[in-house]
Subunit: 204 residues, 2 copies
């Protein structure tokens, strides 16, 4: 995919009246001593009214004879003007569970059909800065299933995603290598890699 | 610490002219096909002019005879109106390296004096939503050092942080337990826990 075409052209202040997807809020709160304080925060406007989470991340593992591989994707992200190495992910639609959203997004973005094995607690992406959050859904992909032989993503017209997979055991080194090639690393991918690294280092 | 006092009182739209810490931007970009598109993004106003990262996270390990323990902290976060389980972290000051910021913040927030063992690639917290990022700095804390016998945090007047540590090997179960007690889980902590869990599950 010719990601090299993608690039930032300009950045300008976004005024409240024009913003459709995100917003800034001014929060008034009492701190642990009961003192009144304020805080500035960013929020999505798209969180389902019925739900408490914005999205899901999908930790999808290909069970290969050579060892488990993690499904990753490359996607240009305008906020950071870079192609980012990420887990498959997406926003939760009104009325969907985290698991339903995860299997739907996995199929749309990668073409793979998976089975859910575990769901994480709600995780907050940057809780000093914004309220965005997700659940990570763990999915196993059986490569012997006919529908997983030649997975066909069903992307929207404005989505450009390249799917790849890397050995789970070497994720930290893969992240360092991706960065040296000019890719950005999503924090979920990087922190997963760190967890695997320290489990190996400390023989956990 | 009486975190139970802390709570959100109100939330209202924040207008551009009043915002001091964060901002919204409207981005114009070309996608992978060369088509002109726009995107909405949130940013911090505090990123050092000389640097490319907002902050650092600190993966600090206490080398205990019973096994390695991870330093965590509890902090009320107004954006999510909850007490969040996080790694020590902080913004980078003008002219500081990631490692200098990490050792300074660790000392201020926890009182511990550490030694850096590893620095992560730059990680992006939520690259479809904002440009905030960090490097994770891995720090080892030698509990035999006199200054680590009775660590004394040096918090600012408006900082309320409780420091704790949990066994690294059981971090996933600890996260589930914290959530069941009403705490929120920061994504770096949760993803680290996932990495350790899958390393154990897949014997990586």
């Amino acid at each position: 995919m010719a990601f090299s075409n993608a690039k930032l052209l300009s950045s300008e202040p976004l005024v409240e009246e024009e913003a459709r997807w995100i917003k800034l809020v001014k929060l008034a709160y009492k701190d642990a001593h009961g003192t009144a304080r304020t805080w500035e925060s960013a929020e999505r406007r798209t969180r389902p009214r019925s739900g408490s989470i914005d999205g899901v991340g999908i930790f999808a593992v290909l069970a290969k004879p050579s060892g488990p591989e993690l499904v990753l994707q490359k996607q240009y992200r305008a906020p950071i003007d870079a192609v980012c190495i990420e887990l498959p992910a997406g926003l939760v639609d009104e009325g969907e569970t985290a698991e339903q959203a995860a299997l739907r997004e996995l199929r749309e973005e990668t073409g793979y059909v998976g089975a859910v094995s575990e769901t994480s607690p709600v995780m907050f992406n940057d809780p000093g800065f914004c309220n965005t959050n997700l659940r990570m859904v763990h999915v196993t992909i059986d490569l012997d299933l006919p529908e997983n032989k030649r997975p066909k993503p069903q992307l929207e017209e404005d989505e450009f995603i390249e799917v790849l997979s890397v050995p789970l055991a070497g994720l930290w080194d893969e992240c360092k290598s991706f960065e040296s090639q000019g890719y950005a690393i999503d924090a979920r991918v990087g922190s997963l890699a760190e967890g695997i690294l320290v489990a190996q280092q400390f023989k956990l």
